[in-house]
Amino acid sequence: MTLASLAILGDDTTGVASQILGFTVDNAKQNCANSVADDGSWAETANYWYFGTTGHAEMASSLLTATGSHYGLLDVNANFFRTGQFHMYVYGATSLFNYGDHGPNKFSTTANGMFLYSKSYNQPSFSLFQREQVDAAEPWSMFWYDPTVSGAFWDGTPLDHFFDNALDQWASMRSSWTDENALYVAIKAGLNQGHQTHNDLDVGDFVLDALGTRWAGELGSGDYLSTNYFTSDAQDADRWQYYRKMTEGQNTIMIDRGNQNVLAQPSVKHDSSGTQQGSSTVMNIPSDSTAYWTTDMTSAYFNA
């Protein structure tokens, strides 16, 4: 709506384009911009991050180039910039930590908002990371990428990072940023509600990459046309009767063949040696490098 309105703003004699812009910008600032938690995690899922940030970046860019202002879209959420870091850490050695719904096919949806965010938030690592990705090769990159950026995204970047917002408590731990055969473990706790009905009942869920293979993976979305798939995320919701959404379909503990409590409020503990990769693409892990993450997920069960 924003792009269409901007495109015809000069020709529209009805005032509607202007009127729509009055709604859409505020709406995006109140909703889309706040899909990023204070730790950078995207409220829906790691895959829906692509759809959300593509729209956000297109909207911000079009407002900027057409009018010279983003009207607060880029900074109404002071932590929005952290979502670039979220994307880097949620991307494992082989693929995404793709918990919850993975969503429709992406086609024109990419992570290339990273280029815009790199410039807008002065975060060179976002651009340095994204320019190495296969989905960078599409038209938006031609305008959002700043070729004067220099360095390496892995240089000085910690191997591990913990995301502690209660909505999506999760951990990302790896043995290298630059080796597709690296060990990568990502694991989550977080709330079982508040994800725009795109999540699973999956406190304790994890993925594991090693030797270039994902050994513990995710099943992703169910059929979006399934009865009441999106209707509710209450305890008795039909959504939780679908295998890919129920606790049984996750890489976590199931008790009494039952679903987790949708009102779970897990807690987490973690620490890391803080090991960083250097400038080389060859990462030699020091013998004292380590990381751990634990969760008390008792509240996710009715009979624990």
């Binding site: 269409a4 000069g10 005032g15 509607v16 096919n105 086609f107 599409e138 038209p139 031609m142 990428y145």
Partner: protein
Amino acid sequence: MWQALPNLIQNDPYLKGWNDTIFGNATAYFSLDPVVYHMDGDSGILDNAREIKMRIKAFAYVYRMTNDTKWVDRCWAEVQVSFVNLAIGCPLIKFLCRMLLHLALRQINGITYTSSTLQNFLPRWALRMTGYTTCGPLTRKPKFAVPLSNGGSNQAFLYSPQVPLSAGGKLMLPAIGIASVTED
């Protein structure tokens, strides 16, 4: 920005690689049949809409870099199938495809959006598309609407969400169209 691209592409290996890939993709899409909507898959019509957007972005980019109007014609073929030849499909589908095309074109045209660049970009389209600014009943509940009544031929009317909506305003249709496809 468009004028700066050729030099940047020659001097930056990333931009050069992406440019080559986009040209390759556009060439591959060129010989494919236009995207056809058969029936809802588990992603509804989102797949069709996004695939059309993907193609149009590539076609439009290559057109802007080459000024070869065969890319405009290929875009138009995509449009015709998307919202003209789908007469047996839902009117909303035709409408959404047209809308997304509209959007993609203006996006690619831009990054700088002005009416003059739009007219420079696709003068033939603008004329042709005017003929297709018809409206049909929307079969899905609108998520967003701007009520307007400004008289004359641009009147638009919004009924309750349970009742099909009709509109005559050129902007009303795109607005609701996008709102309908962004719900997932």
